[in-house]
């Protein structure tokens, strides 16, 4: 009833819809200016974000988040952790962005409201202004999470702000800043922190499609412990069933991330282990289209109105 031929056809249709062909953009994200002998100073700013990536960064275990921001990097500013605030905080942020406080890496969480700059304001100025100024002083940038990489949920079809990711923001302004993209909604803390430790200890990580190769090289489906179920055609028929979740809408076949081998929250679990289909949160087109729902439960109903 649901043979492999149908699977491949459906997977191809999904890949076309999600535009995975567009993934092979030039992998020119390199922070060459960083001197590995000095730990990176991270200036962490948020745009159209939910802070989920910041919260996820606090779920790291080895090294701990505190060790990450004191031993392997220095977190010069983060809105959720910094003691400072108000004018004192702005003096700190501006001194880095104006190039007066030494080298720094710009860490961005959240999308940029390209068509509505007033939709994200820091100290009376649009978020975009800080990004433009930083382009001339930073060593490089890390886009943390699907919003910062591609717009993410704020860029969903029909959004009113024209949300885009950091790399596109710079491309549109002919600013050729190196951006490392770390997708995920949220990111897995290892994906970001291990990238930072790599920068601190060994320089640039090996990249694929603008992201660190080690985390994003392979499709989730290839790595999935339920690949055997797929081969044996043991499919979950309804939500809550075990087995391969493809028929319910699992986007593992077109999502590049190592969740199946890394697991989440201290290695205790991950989506598919709880029988929940992958919703493709690390995909560049995550949640983008209205007519591509996360789950294939109501197939045929209300479609193609």
């Amino acid at each position: 009833m649901f043979d492999r031929r149908k699977f491949i056809k459906l997977a191809a249709a999904l890949a076309a819809a999600f535009g995975t062909k567009g993934l092979s953009q030039p992998a020119k994200a390199a922070l060459n200016e960083i001197d590995p002998r000095n730990v990176p100073k991270l200036l962490y700013l948020q745009g159209l974000s939910c802070t989920g990536c910041s919260i996820s960064l606090l779920q790291a275990e080895s090294p701990s988040p505190v060790s990450m921001i004191t031993d392997y990097s220095q977190l010069v500013f983060h809105t959720d952790l910094s003691a400072t605030s108000g004018a004192q905080a702005m003096e700190l942020i501006n001194s880095f962005i104006d190039g007066e406080a030494g080298d720094y890496v710009l860490a961005i969480e959240g999308a940029i409201p390209e068509n509505m700059p007033e939709a994200c304001i820091i100290d009376h100025k649009p978020f975009a202004d800080y990004l433009e100024r930083a382009a001339h002083t930073m060593s490089g940038a890390v886009a943390i999470g699907s919003c910062a990489c591609d717009g993410g949920i704020p860029a969903a079809e029909g959004n009113p702000t024209g949300a885009i990711g950091l790399a596109e923001f710079y491309r549109k302004r002919n600013l050729t800043q190196p951006v490392i993209n770390i997708r995920g909604c949220p990111i897995h803390p290892d994906w970001v922190w291990h990238t930072i430790t790599h920068l601190a200890l060994a320089g640039n990580p090996s990249m694929i499609n603008g992201s660190p190769r080690v985390f994003f090289e392979r499709r989730l489906h290839e790595l999935c412990p339920r690949y055997y179920d797929f081969q044996e055609e043991i499919f979950a028929e309804k939500l809550g069933d075990r087995g391969c979740l493809f028929r319910l809408g699992c986007l593992g076949p077109i999502t590049f991330a190592d969740c199946p081998t890394r697991w989440w929250n201290g290695g205790r679990t991950w989506c598919v282990d709880t029988n929940a289909p992958c919703i493709g949160c690390a995909s560049p087109n995550f949640a983008r289209k209205k007519d591509l729902p996360f789950y294939r439960l109501s197939e045929g109903k209300g479609r193609n109105r």
Partner: protein
């Protein structure tokens, strides 16, 4: 003088407060929410089952509350018969998330307003963690860097704890709290799939199974967190209260209180709850009626009509609207301003004498601190309310997990109808959270969220009444009007989440 005290840090998101200070007293305060994404706009036309996923991305600090509110709204819309395990798993996932959030708020978001981090330089003991922090701070301060020991310095001027042992204990617990928050989140993720942003929560239950090999690790993690709550968190809250007793009288909001009640005790969405729902005005509690909620936008940056009910909600952004000063709408209940959050949850329940443990803990701590229960409406009162709720919830979660029936269904079968509508109300850690969904031709026709910080950080309504936080700031005496550490302690006591407030 006029002073903008933003950007306010150690909260979620983009908040400025415009203040006017005369003779050392804040005589006016305006909360400016400065970020807008438009969730209710781009949810339209989507598959309704996308909504418990999409709305979690409103807030990555309390995503599970949005998943539960959305799932409950859909359960009401689809008229699902939720199996007992399904409701219990919702509770276990959301409850563990509350425990993490209370610890995160007190330690990572607020402690640096009270604790003197530089006290670690005097540490002479043998604790490896404190020794390491001491050596790091010392090396940073000696390094000649422009901003040494960031992000923990620089800090605002003001009075900090001056008891060396209390400071060192709090710094140690700041670090341990981060591990405890992870444990609470791991417990939630065992059933939720991951934290933040759970994929296993659906209307009608949870895709994860009720298995012994999952239940036991959940209980073990919650027990560790429970011990920390009793032995570290509650004593630290009381220590701060002992050193800053003036904050029992600072930061009092000037309206009523709203709680939707928390933790349904049965499978039906409208089951009796662990904490009772209600609206509290002048000592009287009345039942919640969603039709009494209207959202004003005269001072918010929207051109859509003002004073609409939740069911009729509309949202058209107008970024340069004249005189509007915030992206946050002004929800009001029967025209009145309300505070939501931990103090509201405790006071609404306590006033009704509903949960005996809440009553016992409020009476005990109020007597210890020499305050009246009504003083939970204050900076310290909000902190103490969270501690009380954490203690009540940790015990409830352990008992609730015993009620899971291993091997029994954890989900209802879902078959969304062509047209339907439903409300879903729950308590996020920050307060009362309401979702409304209307489905037409199998797609979302309308989605509306009325979120805790929308209430608390709201601008003036159309009648000119300030929001809860604005009203709590007005009248505050500040030593340094440029910095206003006192005002920031008030703002943080509400635990504002701007991504929630505007979404």
């Amino acid at each position: 003088m006029n002073v903008d005290i933003g950007p306010i840090t150690r909260i979620e998101g983009h908040l400025n407060v415009k203040t006017t200070v005369e003779n050392g007293v804040v005589i006016d305060a305006r909360c400016e929410g400065e970020m807008f994404r438009g969730f209710e706009i781009f949810l339209r036309g989507r598959d309704p089952l996308d909504s418990q996923q999409i709305t979690q991305r409103i807030c990555g600090v309390c995503p599970y509350a949005h998943a539960i509110a959305s799932s409950t709204a859909q359960e009401n819309a689809y008229r699902l018969n939720v199996p007992p395990n399904g409701r219990i798993l919702h509770n276990l996932i959301q409850g563990a998330n509350h425990l993490y959030d209370y610890l995160l708020h007190f330690y990572q978001l607020c402690a640096l307003d009270y604790v003197d981090i530089t006290a670690v330089l005097e540490y002479t003991g043998k604790d490896p963690e404190l020794s390491k922090v001491r050596d790091w701070v010392k090396a940073e301060v000696d390094s000649g860097k422009r901003y040494p020991a960031a992000p923990f310095l620089p800090r605002l001027s003001g009075k900090y704890l001056n008891n060396r042992d209390a400071n060192l204990g709090a710094i140690k617990n700041y670090l341990e709290a981060m591990r405890m928050e992870q444990k609470a989140n791991q417990a939630a993720a065992i059933f939720g799939g991951k934290f933040p942003h759970a994929t296993s929560i659906f209307p009608g239950g949870c895709t994860q199974e009720a298995r012994i090999d999952l239940i036991v690790p959940y209980q073990s993690l919650i027990r560790e967190v429970r011990d920390f709550i009793h032995h570290k968190y509650i004593p630290d809250v009381l220590a701060v209260a002992g050193a800053f007793p003036e904050y029992w009288d600072i930061g009092r909001s000037q309206g009523g209180f709203l709680s939707y009640g928390h933790m349904p005790l049965g499978p039906e969405p409208d089951s009796r709850r662990l904490l009772a729902p209600g609206v509290l005005f002048n000592g009287e509690v009345t039942a919640v009626d969603f039709n009494q909620i209207r959202q004003d936008v005269n001072n918010a940056k929207y051109s859509s009509p003002t004073n609409l009910q939740v069911r009729d909600a509309a949202i058209t952004p107008q970024p340069n609207k004249r005189d509007a000063y915030s992206w946050i709408m002004a929800p009001r209940y029967a025209g009145k301003m309300l505070e939501v959050g931990p103090a509201a949850r405790v006071l609404v329940d306590y006033t009704q004498g509903h949960n005996p443990t809440v009553k016992e803990l409020v009476d005990r701590f109020a007597s210890q601190a020499g305050i009246r229960p009504a003083q939970l409406n204050s900076v310290l009162g909000r902190h103490l309310s969270r501690a009380i709720l954490a203690a009540v919830l940790a015990d409830f979660l352990l008992a609730e997990s015993q009620r899971l029936a291993p091997g029994q269904p954890t989900m209802a079968a879902i078959d969304p109808p062509a047209s339907a509508e439903g409300f879903g109300a729950t308590e996020a850690s920050r307060g009362a959270l309401l979702h409304y969904i209307r489905i037409e031709n199998y797609k979302i026709a309308k989605y509306e969220c009325v979120v805790p910080t929308t209430w608390n950080a709201s601008p003036r309504d159309d009648q000119g009444q300030p929001g809860a936080m604005e009203s709590a700031l007005i009248g505050t005496r500040v030593n340094n009007p440029e910095e206003q550490i006192e005002s920031k302690r008030i703002v943080r006591s509400f635990d504002p989440c701007l991504a929630c407030a505007v979404h």
